[in-house]
């Protein structure tokens, strides 16, 4: 990722960052809970509807976010050479797992060629091809990638707090104040 000599993130990236965080953890809990719903639960059809629509929202804002980063670049990273490398690696892994989770989720519901509704507003079409047992395969990837993402995101948060409270750096502040 191209580093530019600015101190912080712009307001748009800050909003996207925190809404992604909220959505990722919210969707993780929602997904965890909804897979064990019984057939006669009131939430049996509504919970997946929210999960899919919100998941698509994460997909859209993440794709936008990646493009935005590539166009605008990212602020300089503080710290030693090792810390910079570790931070970059962590961020790349976060993006990879985030995209893996949302994309594999998309592949579950579109596993037999049917589109997914985005909040009953418009349909997101399936890919023009499917693989055998796609929903089951994508479901396994979705589950494991979600665990990886949540663990990485927790590690990401812990490191941000460490930089803030122990290292006394502006790492956390610049993701709060534009």
């Amino acid at each position: 990722m191209r580093e530019v000599g600015v101190k912080g993130y712009d307001a748009l990236m800050i909003i996207i960052h925190w809404s992604s965080a909220l959505l990722v953890f919210g969707l993780f809990v929602l997904g965890w809970w909804m897979v064990d719903l019984t057939y006669y639960s009131n939430w049996y059809t509504t919970a997946p509807w929210w999960h899919k629509s919100l998941g698509l929202l994460v997909l859209f804002i993440t794709l936008f976010r990646v493009v935005w980063r590539l166009v605008k670049g990212t602020p300089t990273i503080d710290g030693s050479a090792f810390e910079k490398k570790a931070a970059k690696l962590g961020h790349v892994l976060l993006y990879i797992s985030l995209l893996a989770v949302v994309f594999s989720g998309y592949l579950i519901s579109t596993g037999e060629g049917k589109p997914i509704s985005f909040f009953d507003w418009f349909d997101v079409p399936a890919l023009p091809f499917q693989v055998d047992q796609q929903a089951t395969l994508a479901g396994a990837i979705h589950e494991y990638a979600a665990y990886v993402l949540v663990i990485l995101a927790l590690g990401h948060g812990v490191m941000a707090l460490k930089h803030h409270f122990i290292d006394k750096r502006s790492t956390l502040i610049r993701m709060i104040k534009p």
């Binding site: 057939y39 579109t110 596993g111 037999e112 929903a135």
Partner: protein, 193 residues
């Protein structure tokens, strides 16, 4: 005279060629003239239909002695198809077919009892294995027809129906009181080997 001789030799030939040996047929899955479908009540308000796309099998049948018929079919349970990706994923999971652990269902006939009043109908008994559980089932069978096909082969077809109770096969996900049984419908065409 010539035609009479031909007819005679045809009769003699057919008698000699049929020493009570049943013909073997391979189920025509390649040409997709065989179907394993199921239906189950949705909440008791309608029928949900599905099918298994991938299976293979063979049967033997002797017109002179239908009681000797036998059948073997193997079903790839992961090929379950109800035209709904998320539902099929759920059906493949251990709530239902548990296809990871039991990728195959099978049916091996033990005996065939033709109806006394109609030799084209009968009951086919056999061992059916699903989700790792084997039970004897009785399939009501009717021969649809048999004869030469236009491409040099000989085909014979049957349809069959059997009701299965899901709990018998350790499938106990609660779909409601009206959805404890599933009806299996088979339409099978075999090509004589």
């Amino acid at each position: 005279m010539k035609t009479q001789l031909l007819a005679l030799s045809a009769i003699v030939g057919s008698v000699l060629a049929a020493p009570a040996v049943a013909d073997d047929y391979v189920i025509d899955t390649e040409g997709q003239h065989a179907f394993i479908q199921f239906k189950i009540k949705h909440l008791g308000y309608s029928w949900l239909l599905g099918r298994f796309n991938d299976f293979e099998g063979k049967f033997s049948y002797d017109e002179a002695n239908p009681g000797n018929a036998s059948v073997e079919v193997t079903i790839d349970t992961a090929s379950v198809d109800t035209n709904h990706a998320e539902r099929d994923k759920h059906l493949r999971s251990d709530d239902f077919l548990n296809t990871g652990e039991y990728p195959e269902a099978s049916f091996v006939s033990t005996r065939y009892v033709p109806d006394s009043d109609d030799e084209n109908e009968g009951t086919l008994y056999g061992n059916f294995t699903l989700n790792g559980v084997t039970k004897e089932i009785a399939i009501e069978v009717e021969q649809v027809g048999a004869g030469e096909d236009p491409w040099g082969g000989f085909r014979r077809g049957f349809e069959g129906e059997v009701d299965l109770t899901l709990a018998d096969y350790n499938i106990d996900y609660n779909l409601g009181p009206e959805a404890k049984e599933v009806e299996l419908y088979l339409s099978i065409e075999g090509v004589r080997q």
